[in-house]
Amino acid sequence: MEMYEAIILTIITAATPLLLAACGELVAERAGVLNLGVEGMMIMGAVAAFAVAFSTGSPYLGIAAGIAAGAAASLPFAFLTISMVTNQVATGLALTILGLGLSGMIGDAYIGQPGVKLTPISIEGLSDLPYVGKILFSQDVIVYASVLLLLIVWFFLFKTRAGLSLRAVGDSHSSAHALGVSVRKVRYLAVIFGGACAGLAGAYLSLVYTPQWTEGMTAGRGWIAVVLVVFATWMPGRLLAGAYLFGAVLILQLHAQAAGVNIPSQFLSSLPYLATIIVLVLISRNRTLVKKNSPACLGKPFVPDV
């Protein structure tokens, strides 16, 4: 394998969980719900996927378990923030704390156990193409799904009536309510979708990225996904670019560590977090750009008057 191929393949591996989790968070935020529990839902997905794949031997059942666990983890958050109008920031933090604790408890039995790795699917003929074959046509099912999912989300949000309703709920919940859109129902569905995506992202971590269970293995990726949504200014297309850019930063510091660059490994390890902060600052500087697409009701609870 060529060097560039190896690097691009690892970038895709690092970018995919970010893309999936950010894609789900984007939909939830477009509906006006800021869910800071991505990290917690993601790690619940990771532990559930590992446990089910380990006991059944099937990575595909693992994927299903990851999605289900992420969606289930989002339910208490959805109930509290949507039905009980609690503070979204604090409730999201509670979800992250709970997810990290619960996954640690469940995962204790699986520490050090060999994982089940999801194998790539080579598309006959196409995967032998020169230069791009291996990169584009020899990936595992989650990578294909992540790109497809993003396309579907884009199409749904901007080309369908239901997507328009969802954006209306995020931009002006009172107007949407007056027009007969069920604000609560839309928000519930958007939050659960976000949870399922975060769960799938977690499944990718424990089935592909490092096929084993380690406590806290999401290592802040859920938070990076939340920043990615701001970076993308709530636009799915930019999310793709952002996820691959962040994936590259995550991978390049690993390659630098492996190559024995004369910089302490801890500094290289903190690079992705610093890069995330810098990117957030750069994008926030342009306030009109952020304001233009940011859902106007983001983070605001909705209580109908009647």
Partner: protein
């Protein structure tokens, strides 16, 4: 939905007082279910978790030791949250304070006397405050969301600590263990009882709680916080500066987290290690909410959350279950507190029944 939320005409004083208690009760009930699902007798599980740690002098001291950083950090965070400013990176500010304060005992070997400890405290508070001012500055200057920047900086602080204790600050006589040298006697947090574990951090935390209670209820500046948090528009008309408040809230909460950090490494730990906190900075967020952002309430809440740590250890030793159960209880508690707080402002009414406004 058969029931709908309806805003109360005025906040329920009864719920304001009892919502934390109801939340704790709900957490205990969920805990019983959790223990039962793990095949443990719920009564035994709960008593090992929540009562056993209260039954020996040693563990009562340990309770105070763990409550101290939670109270200190929680008070700082409550000032932020009252002003609707979201510092969630106290864990990083705790580390930053610990590092800044540890400079003297680690790098200035041989300096002793009565000024060492006060210098460490001052440096710890300054370190925590300066680290907290990074997200504050990024928020004011560039509009960067302080929730995300303060959280991401936690990772940066932890990697920096890891580098120091494995690199330049490692104990040269420590057989290559990733630890700093043990702090000399002049650089150690003074104990309350000789030979015990409780240190002067606890009385300091109590004094700070009283000062904060006075500040929040009896000063103009404390009142401004309330206005900025509850009605930013009114605050702007009144000429209160949002930027100044962001700087103030982050500086105070960072300084208190830094104080907690240096007290911890100079006290119960006695040196720097790669991990110096079991998540005090995050747990203090729960403390702040359980204490209803009230300094006196936070003192009580600090003990409840400190008990959750001790209970986790007891459950691991006695019941053989993972001590991660502490995080589960903590997360559940925050969920329940937030849910119960809703009833302070709202009440449920049946759909279709219109209540006459009095």
């Amino acid at each position: 939905m058969p029931f709908k939320l309806q805003r109360r005409e005025e906040h329920s004083a009864w719920m304001a007082l009892f919502s934390p208690l109801i939340a704790v009760a709900l957490m205990l009930a969920t805990g019983a279910v959790l223990f039962a699902s793990l095949g443990i007798d719920p009564v035994k599980g709960l008593s090992v978790y929540f009562l056993e740690p209260l039954q020996s002098a040693w563990s009562l001291q340990e309770l105070v030791v763990k409550a101290t950083p939670l109270i200190l950090i929680g008070i700082g965070l409550s000032i932020c949250y009252r002003a609707n400013i979201w510092n969630i990176g106290a864990e990083g500010q705790f580390v930053a304070g610990a590092l800044a304060g540890s400079y003297f005992p680690i790098m200035m070997v041989g300096w002793d006397g009565p000024f060492v400890f006060p210098a460490m405290i001052a440096a710890g508070m300054a370190g925590g405050a300066l680290f907290a001012l990074i997200p504050a500055a990024l928020k004011i200057r560039f509009g960067a969301n302080e929730i995300l920047t303060s959280l991401l900086l936690v990772y940066v602080a932890q990697f920096f600590l890891d580098w120091l204790v494995r690199g330049p600050w490692r104990d040269p006589e420590g057989f290559n263990f990733p630890e700093s040298r043990l702090f000399p006697s002049d650089a150690v947090t003074p104990l309350i009882i000789e030979g015990g574990r409780m240190h002067i951090g606890f009385p300091i935390a109590l004094i700070i709680a009283l000062l904060a209670a006075f500040y929040l209820t009896r000063t103009i500046h404390g009142f401004q916080i309330q206005v900025i948090g509850e009605s930013p528009r009114a605050a702007r008309f009144a000429g209160f500066s949002q930027s100044k408040m962001i700087i103030f809230a982050f500086a105070v909460s960072g300084a208190l987290a830094g104080l907690a950090g240096i007290l911890e490494v100079a006290g119960p730990i006695g040196q720097l290690r790669p991990v110096i906190s079991p998540g005090y900075g995050f747990t203090a967020i729960i403390v702040a909410f359980l204490g209803r952002l009230n300094p006196i309430g936070i003192v009580i809440a600090g003990f409840v959350l400190a008990l959750s740590y001790l209970g986790g250890e007891a459950a691991q030793v006695t019941l053989g279950i993972s001590d991660k159960i502490a995080r589960v209880f903590q997360g559940l508690l925050l969920f329940y507190v937030l849910a119960c707080d809703t009833f302070i402002v709202y009440t449920f009414r049946r759909v279709g029944v219109v209540r006459e406004a009095s």
